[in-house]
């Protein structure tokens, strides 16, 4: 085969692009993957921003990395290790805390301390959510059928979906219907009375959305959290060794072993279209690569509005993509520390440092944080989800030193007046002073800090709008709506052009499912 001639070209070496490329190479295809940056990983990436301190810069935990991908690509052999992240502690304003541990009895005791009623509800709630997650889980690995189509493939898909729905009990169906339409605050009010418990649980319903805990639809996002729990021993949630960059490195290593050519510093200009079908890719440096299959693992806006001229795509499709909501709502503050932050609620080094620490004292706290974001401000009292990666993986920081990853919501992409250095600094300062209320020594421990706004996510990771899921997990942007009606099966209106990243079904997170399903679609089409 001539140089620059391939069976398939993958745009974007994020984890989904790497997964797709690996599956195509595994099927015997000659594959090249093109990455704009000098390193692979996209938003699943680890960098040494300060010497010796390694930040898992954007995404920071793994929850739903598909077991079949781990097996098929032999990721453990390529260095994937998923380390336990056993607890969540919510420090409270009165100096107490609410903990959830990896032992059922300990958690029960802990919740009981705050509310005996909630302690009982907690068990039942967990069971109900896990069952709902189990019921909805098969949909993750399913190609969404088009309900408007009469093609045999879609009809078969609808039939399968129908059969599947019929296999659920009436109760389960109602529960799921309620979950996808309800707000997480409403759902939690049905179960619990202790506000910090509701606040902490509701936080998982807003991550990556531009919604508050009282917005309808957030209960569904909350459900995603329970999907990992039903894998039992297989459990793929936790902290990846070397951060989420470690996941990308393992997939990249597997990809290379399968013969994938990885080109970094290779930003794509346009998808080449010949005779109405994709024929290759033109790089920004003028190089042209040829292939009958082009797969974009970039976000939907870049994939359809930037890489391809509008004339090659139907107007209604372009309109749908333009209307796809990608409002970034969260930021990150990554901190290098010379000592552990000492939390007033649990002084000294302890188990809390090995798990998540959540600043989510109540539903109102988070809803108020959202109020500010609605009107173009970052939250003055934000929701923060912290982990200390160096306590889980000692290779993340020099001995005795630490790194801390703080996920912060809300930080709107469209901030009033636009993001600039002063606003970024103010945002970082807000986060530090919020943590300081619970860990007063934090400021003295800081040796370096990286503040990431949605604008920075867009600039560095190349995700339009800086939305961590490449598009919010809204009901009207899920399943057969993702990224556009009639085009949720990883194919696009441009023959030969495929789409497989977080903007496709089943969505974001270090999951790999869109990449794999897109590769499946290509291979099914005989690509």
């Amino acid at each position: 085969m001539a140089a620059n001639q391939y069976d398939a070209i993958v745009i974007g070496a994020g984890h989904n692009g790497l997964v797709a490329a690996s599956y195509l190479a595994r099927a015997g295809k000659k594959v090249v993957i093109l990455e704009r940056r000098e390193i692979v990983g996209g938003a699943a990436m680890t960098e040494e921003i300060f010497p010796g301190y390694r930040f898992t810069e954007f995404s920071y935990v793994v929850s739903l990395l598909r077991p079949e991908i781990i097996r098929d690509l032999e990721l453990p052999k390529h260095g994937l290790k998923i380390l336990p992240l056993p607890s969540t502690v919510t420090p409270l304003d009165n100096g107490d805390y609410l903990g959830s541990w990896d032992d059922h009895d300990l958690t029960r005791q802990e919740v009981y301390r705050h509310s005996p009623k909630d302690a009982e509800a907690y068990d039942e709630y967990s069971r109900v959510m896990a069952r709902a997650a189990k019921a909805i889980k098969p949909i993750i690995s399913m190609v969404p059928p088009d309900p408007s189509s009469l093609s045999p493939r879609d009809l078969l898909g609808l039939l399968k979906l129908g059969q599947y729905a019929r296999s659920l009990s009436e109760k389960e169906l109602y529960r799921i219907a309620k979950l996808v339409t309800q707000s997480s605050a409403d759902l939690l009010d049905e179960w619990f009375e202790f506000d910090p418990l509701k606040g902490t649980k509701s936080a998982s319903g807003i991550i990556g959305t531009f919604l508050g805990p009282r917005s309808p639809g957030t209960a569904y996002v909350l459900l995603h959290h329970y999907m990992g729990e039903i894998d039992g021993a297989f459990r793929a949630w936790g902290f990846a060794k070397n951060g989420t960059g470690g996941v990308s490195a393992a997939i990249a290593s597997s990809a290379r072993a399968l013969g994938v050519e990885i080109r970094t510093n290779a930003p794509v200009d346009k998808v080449i279209v010949k005779g109405g079908v994709a024929a290759g890719v033109a790089l920004q440096n003028g190089d042209e690569l040829r292939a009958k299959i082009v797969l974009s693992a970039a976000d939907p806006k870049r994939t359809f509005l930037q890489f391809v001229d509008g004339k090659h795509l139907p107007d209604d499709f372009v309109q749908s993509i333009k209307g796809f909501r990608v409002r970034g709502s969260s930021g990150k503050v990554n901190i290098a520390l010379n000592a552990l932050p000492d939390f007033t609620c649990l002084p000294g080094e302890g188990p809390l440092h090995r798990g998540a620490i959540s600043i989510s004292p109540s539903v109102d706290y988070i809803e108020r944080a959202y109020d500010e974001a609605k009107y173009g401000q970052f939250s003055k009292n934000p929701y923060i989800d912290m982990i200390i990666p160096s306590m889980i993986d000692r290779d993340m920081a020099p001995p005795g030193h630490h790194v801390m990853s703080c996920f912060v919501q809300y930080a709107p992409y469209d901030i009033e007046g636009g993001w600039d250095d002063a606003k970024r600094d103010a945002f970082g300062e807000t986060v530090i002073s919020t943590i300081e209320k619970y860990a007063p020594n934090i400021r003295q421990c800081i040796v370096g800090k990286q503040v990431i706004t949605p604008k920075d996510i867009e600039r560095i990771a190349g995700i339009t709008g800086g939305n961590i899921f490449h598009g919010e997990l809204l009901l009207h942007q899920l399943f057969f709506f993702r990224p556009a009606p009639q085009w949720a099966d990883f194919r696009t209106p441009l023959p030969g052009y495929y789409f497989g990243a977080a903007g496709a079904h089943p969505g974001g997170g270090v999951m790999g499912a869109p990449g794999k399903l897109a590769a499946d679609a290509i291979l099914k089409d005989g690509g």
Binding site: P67, R71, P76, I82, L83, K241, R394, P399
Partner: protein, 398 residues
């Protein structure tokens, strides 16, 4: 008087073990685990450093001009060729070539060895030493032992060790001082990772425990019980006496006994070594004729397992610890062996087992099926015979 023995580390370990799940080991009690779930201890072995109390191992000092001769005669390894500072792992047999026990031999000097074993061995040593110029003493209670296992173990030891361990090779030992206490450190272990075993005077046990915990603080050191170690040793393809084979002295019938070849220890049987050793004739015969059984690794196929569980609407239910239960292994519907230990491997994300299979089914790549109980029904999950170790990080021998 009615207490089981406690190791010299008990004062620390008993305060640290949250579940207080004491396990019996050679007349001692040791912690099963320190945490309520095994994750942290297991991952310390595979990603940081795990500190394990291995004091209950039986320990013997064999000293005298004929010390090498005795061990050369008692075990199938060529002990005469052993260098001072070298450690051998070996099984040893009765005259029928059936395994009595297994352990390590450390050559401390030309005329001094330490033998570890699982079973009391004084009598067997004495029987084999007839007419030899050798003294045999048991030092189990006088010598406390800690195993420090995991990729960070060397870094931690170097912080408190009088000399660097960077040059200490796999299965070698050195005499040195740790926190001022004279110790022997061998680069050995039961986890298949980088690791060391530290042999120390029992009265200094707590000093050294504290020194190691302190030195390891910034490197993720975790006290680790034998339950997490049990998972790691299966991943390393290492078997356990009276779980994966029956000591000949405990067997009621011939079928319960195993030979070194059957246990995959062919590499320890030095048939080319000079002179007689216990079991020689039987082992020579078996070598020529081939073994009827072999202990092999099994990888259970997850998709197959998923299918079995899906039939009752469940995801696979695999306990997160090693299971010491005999599970029939089938080939074309006929039982051809049994798994003796099975475990979920968190690092490999695979369900694995050590299994005794009959010839010709023990060749790597052979597809068999292992029994799994799905909702009270005994079904069979597809599995493949694989070479052990299942997991061997590059740093184990480096």
């Amino acid at each position: 008087m009615f207490d089981l023995k406690r190791t010299p580390f008990h004062e620390r370990t008993s305060k640290l073990s949250l579940p207080q799940n004491w396990r019996r080991w050679a007349g001692y009690i040791v912690a099963g685990s320190y945490d309520l779930v095994l994750d942290r201890e297991y991952w310390a072995i595979r990603d940081a450093a795990a500190l394990i109390d291995i004091t209950p191992l039986m320990k013997y000092i064999i000293e005298g001009p004929d010390a090498a001769k005795l061990l050369h005669r008692m075990t199938p390894r060529d002990v005469l060729k052993m260098a001072v500072g070298q450690v051998f792992y070996t099984g040893w047999c009765d005259d029928d070539g059936k395994m009595l026990d297994d352990g390590t031999i450390s050559r401390l000097s030309d005329t001094k060895f330490r033998l570890t074993s699982a079973e009391p061995s004084l009598r067997w040593l004495a029987m084999n030493a007839v007419g030899m110029d050798v003294t045999i003493s048991e030092v189990t209670d006088q010598v406390a032992a800690l195993s420090l296992q995991g990729p960070k173990s060397r870094t931690i030891l170097n912080k408190v060790c009088a000399k660097s361990l960077d040059k200490l090779k796999f299965f070698r030992l050195t005499e040195t001082k740790l926190a001022g206490v004279p110790v022997t450190i061998s680069r050995t272990g039961y986890t298949g990772d980088l690791g060391y075993e530290i042999w120390m005077p029992a009265d200094k046990a707590l000093t050294l425990w504290d020194a190691l915990i302190e030195a390891g603080r910034d490197y993720g050191i975790v006290p680790c019980g034998i339950l997490a170690m049990d998972m790691a040793r299966v991943e390393a393809g290492l078997f356990m006496i009276d779980v994966d084979y029956t000591a000949t002295s405990h067997a009621w019938i011939a079928g319960q006994k195993s030979t070194p070849f059957e246990m995959g220890l062919g590499w320890t049987v030095a048939l080319d070594k000079p002179g007689y050793f216990v079991g020689r004739r039987a082992l020579e015969r078996e070598y020529k004729e081939g073994s009827a059984w072999r202990l092999v690794g099994l990888e259970i196929e997850w998709e197959g397992l998923e299918k079995l569980y899906a039939s009752v609407g469940l995801p696979p239910q695999i306990p997160g610890m090693a299971i010491r239960a005999s599970l029939p292994v089938m080939h074309n519907g006929k039982q051809i062996g049994y798994a003796s230990t099975s475990t979920w491997s968190p690092v490999l994300k695979k369900y694995i087992a050590l299994a005794h299979l009959q010839r010709p089914h023990f060749e790597p790549g052979t597809r068999v099926a292992m029994e799994v109980t799905v909702e009270h029904h005994r079904l069979h999950a597809p599995a493949t015979v694989v070479k052990t170790p299942f997991y061997e990080p590059e740093w184990k021998r480096k």
